[in-house]
Amino acid sequence: MEQTKKPEKISRSRRKALLKRLKAEIGIYQRDLYLAAFLGWLQFLTRIASFYLIAQIIAQLFLEKKINIGVFFWQLVILSVFGFGVALLARKYQGTASQYARNNLKQRFFEVFQKHSGEFEHKTSVADILTIASQGIDTLDTYFNRYLTSSLRTYFNCATVLVIVAIIFPLGGLIFLICLPFIPISIVFMQKRSRKIMQHYWATYMDVGNLFIDDLKGMNTLYTYNVDEKYAKSFVKKAEQFRLSTMELLKFQLQSVGYMDGVMYIGVGVSGFFAVLALAHGQLSLASLLFFVLIAAEFFAPIRESGYGMHLVMMNTRMADRIYSFLDSVDEIDKEVKTENLEDDIKQIELKNLSFSYDNNEILKKITVKIKKGNIFAIAGESGLGKTTLAKLIQKQLKPTEGEILFNTQDIAKVDVQMVQQKVLYVSPDSYLFNTSIYENLTLGTTKNKKELLDWLKEKNLLAFVDKLPEGIDTRVGENGKLLSPGQRQQIICARALLAQRSIYIFDEMTSSVDSETEQILFDYIKLTAENAIVVFISHKMRQVIQADEVLFINKKRENTVGQPQKVLESVSEFKQLVETQNRLEAILHE
């Protein structure tokens, strides 16, 4: 009930296109939908037939003809049981179309994520997309299941009633037709109106439910600052404001409920009156009048129901808009296919005169360097100077503006991005741990069984903390490893990478957000990795950088220097300054 997002208007044509696409998601299961609707219609016919029999027998009674109540009784029972039988038959078609369509959409989400390699420009939008994927898609059930079914029912049932009425009492049919457009008109009108009201009251439309949790979660902080009472008062006030403005809105929105009921019963009453007039003038039989009265409501009820469904469809359209906007974004990724293969053993990466600009801003300037297997090659500099951009260039996620990147002697511009991906492993604190056991996470990159893995860990003296956990290597790590300490989490990420045995590793700020002790442990993992691979180590922490074999230092002017750390320390004053400042700062930790 609580609106959180300001509703934006979706254009008419866009809305139509969206609904069409949604409907197409059902694919071959459209058959199930129509079958279910057809069987529903059969049930409906049995009901209409029963009404007909009732009207007939009453008329015969009135005319004082002989009637057989026994036969009447059994006819109706057979109709009723037949209807129930049809319903049992229709049972297996319930919801299948909706399931199929929703699964379809979820699979496509998965594929699009895959094509994006899970990388998105804005971090905030990822959370949003995840919510759409995990919850939003399922809200479309109201469209696929309820709305489509009920609109089919409306078509079938109303057309049937209309045909019957047109036969027995044409004027009644005309009145029905006149009433028909009043219902959708009311909905459109009401929606326009409530959008206006919403805008008017927008300031008070906050999400009180979230405010409730947010304030209470921070209650202890509010207490320590002695503002708990003030916040309680303000919460109560806001909740009341929200309630009042919601009621104000409902005052209008609910009018459509009353209005539709009004139209329905006015239609029944007015057409009934004319039926009676016809009867009084001998143009309509009693049986027809009774039959007419019994089925009149059957004409309006489904229309009213789909009227109720219309605001749901509005919400569905909005959701569909978000879903397709995301799914369509994948088309922008180019799909060029390259045929050249990379050599198995890569011993060297060479950056030749490499530059990169973004929006005319030069980010990386003419970098020339050879990175060799068996060494730790550090990229150092303060944050924001393009260290991670360089990592992306090596992974071929970005294309250099100038210069080239060679793996051995091959220019990666001529190699398919997937080939590059198979060679390079990018490791950072943002790497993800899956919500399973430590073991399951480690086996992502290796085929070692549990015993082999444990032996390997012992031999290399890695993940020592695992032995202290009650469940050892089978301990569950929680979503993205949140049940572990940051240090433990990052150690597992490193061990997992090591197990994958790639030719090239990029460790991006892997020693950050941990204390100095863990920092060194993690650096040991990186040293171990470098024994058998090309390792690029990106960091702003100079204590580790000077332990590297070679360093590429980027200064504030984006100029770069390459060399052994000790030599750079002597020749580049900015580098030296950085090392000294950090040492001085960290002195407080070693008093």
Binding site: I58, A87, F110, G118, Y225, L250, L277, A280, L444
Partner: protein
């Protein structure tokens, strides 16, 4: 905590009714409108039948009757509107009411009640419970009352036509409103539970694999995860299907019951007409009324499921509302904190038997940084919470300026202590509000001076709207280290005599850790307690205590 099962369902319902006493009028209006609306719906066909019979007798209906029918249609719309309006009124009023009650209760229970790790999930549960209660009050009570009133009216009416018809009516309504829903609820409940569990698992797996997509691509595991996901989704689909089939069956059986009831009702009426115990017109009207009378009962079809949920929800909420409150009262304390001494104190949490401290004595010196080190769970934070009087010591006494701390008002003590928790607490409001909590006496200039001391001023001013930028716990503007500095700015603005830092560095790297400690050393005057499990964090303290075996040992 009380055992939630202890409150009996009957008492619960009674208490719940007590809470909506002041809404009696609105509930009553909603019900009256619903009943009137229903009467309009049966009156319209009855009038037409009546006019029909008169027409057969040669009386052409007057045009005024058209007006009457038209007005009845309009009234039906108005009644329906009224019913919904007041129904929603009750719903939103109860929602606001319950939130208010719970909010205020938690405010009184703070800080002790919210002082544990799973308080977040407790809050989530309680807010879901409140929503369940809203559903109960808005969508359960009025429909039940409406159905009851209508039953009374219809039974009287049918009885007047023929007692047997009244009995058939009563039986049918009972089956529709009570029998079938109960049977199907018993059948549906386990299915729904199973479905919810399967769905939750699937969703978490789905979102896990999307979040870890970069890793899946890097390790070439996408196909395997995709297949697993498909298998899981098939399982969920099967469960979902079971539920929707069951629900469909319920509606099919309901229709069957209605059909059969109508047959019996019509046949009995016809028999009566044939034997001339029932007047033809009256009988026909009765049949038509019966045929159009089921809607209010069908609204009750999902009631048993909702009722159970509401009762459980009410139980949780009342247990919370009944929880005894810690007495924070005491003599006013408005001196500054100058002396702090532990005198043979002992402590155990009220809910746990195990003691945290036994016979601990120590004297803390002002103007020194006091480090407290020990593994997590050893009681470092607990000791601080005893000094802030979130809890009372079980034995011995804490001496504050030579007097027993217990005698002072807890809130007064807290006024003098700034507490900086491990995870910065950010509220969804402007940076200014987050730092001052609406204290207008603090000027922007003062805020910026404090922010500068914490080396965060530039970053704050660099945000889009400066101090007016709205931030929240999910924000991405500030890093963990920067949030910690905002929290410190907030604390400095409090002008406290005593600062308590509870694991302030556990999410920081060593550079940020060092920078943060530097600020503490330069800016915090008076008592400074520094709690950490990291030796590097407490290294800069003047005095260091280690917690070993429920005792405090001075190591520096």
């Amino acid at each position: 905590m009380n055992n939630p099962a202890e409150i009996s369902t009957r008492r619960l319902v009674k208490r719940m009714m007590g809470l909506v006493k002041h809404l009696k009028l609105q509930i009553g209006i909603a019900v009256v409108f619903a009943v009137l609306g229903f009467l309009a719906t049966i009156l319209i066909p009855s009038i037409i039948v009546d006019l029909g019979f008169k027409g057969l007798a040669g009386k052409v209906p007057q045009i005024t009757m058209l007006l009457v029918l038209f007005c009845l249609g309009v009234l039906r719309g108005l009644f329906r509107y009224g019913e919904h309006y007041f129904g929603h009124y009750v719903a939103f009023k109860t929602l606001a009411n319950f939130r208010k009650l719970v909010f205020q209760k938690l405010q009184r229970l703070a800080p002790a009640k919210l002082d544990n790790q799973d308080s977040g999930s407790m809050l989530k549960m309680i807010s879901e419970d409140i929503e369940a209660l809203e559903v109960f009050f808005a969508h359960t009570i009025p429909p039940i009352l409406t159905a009851s009133s209508i039953t009374l009216i219809l039974t009287l009416y049918f009885w007047n036509v023929a007692p047997s018809l009244a009995i058939i009516g009563l039986i049918t309504y009972a089956i529709l409103a009570v029998g079938l829903p109960k049977v199907f609820a018993a059948y549906l409940q386990p299915l729904l539970k199973k479905q919810a569990i399967a769905r939750k698992k699937y969703i978490s797996y789905f979102s896990d694999s999307l979040q870890g997509m970069k890793e899946l691509v890097q390790f070439k595991q996408t196909q395997r995860y995709f297949n697993l996901l498909t298998t899981k989704s098939k399982q969920v689909n099967a469960q979902e299907k079971d539920v929707s089939v069951a629900q469909y069956l319920q509606s099919a059986v309901t229709f069957l019951v209605i059909g059969l009831a109508l047959i019996v009702f019509a046949s009995l009426t016809l028999l009566g007409i044939e034997h001339e115990t029932i007047n033809l017109q009256k009988g026909v009207t009765a049949i038509i009324i019966f045929a159009t009378s089921f809607a209010p009962y069908l609204e009750l079809s999902r009631l048993p499921l909702g009722f159970k949920r509401a009762i459980n929800a009410a139980r949780q909420v009342f247990v919370l509302l009944d929880e005894p409150e810690f007495n924070k009262d005491g003599v006013a304390f408005n001196e500054s904190i100058d002396e702090l001494e532990l005198n043979k104190i002992a402590f155990a949490y009220p809910t746990r038997k195990q003691a945290i401290f036994e016979d601990v004595s120590a004297t803390f010196e002002k103007h020194k940084i006091i480090g407290l080190i020990g593994p997590s769970g050893s009681g470092k934070s607990t000791l601080m919470k005893l000094i802030m009087r979130w809890y009372n010591v079980t034995n011995g006494e804490i001496k504050l300026n030579k007097h027993d701390l217990k005698q002072y008002n807890a809130k007064d003590i807290q006024q003098h202590i700034a507490y900086i928790p491990q995870i910065p607490q950010i509220f969804k409001q402007t940076i200014r509000e987050n730092l001052t909590f609406g204290n207008v006496a603090i000027t922007d200039e003062q805020i910026l001076v404090a922010a500068q001391k914490c080396h965060i001023k530039e970053k704050v001013l660099a945000t889009k709207q400066g101090l007016d930028t709205i931030i929240s716990s999910e924000q991405k503007i500030f890093s963990a280290g920067e949030l910690q500095r905002l929290e410190l700015t907030r604390a400095l603005l409090k002008n406290a005599d005593c600062y308590v830092f509870d694991e302030p560095t556990s999410n920081l790297d060593s550079l940020n850790e060092a920078a943060f400690l530097q600020v503490i050393r330069d800016q915090c005057k008076g008592y400074v307690f520094l709690i950490s499990h990291r030796p590097s964090t407490v290294a800069c303290s003047d005095v260091i205590y280690k917690i070993v075996d429920k005792k405090l040992i001075r190591t520096k």
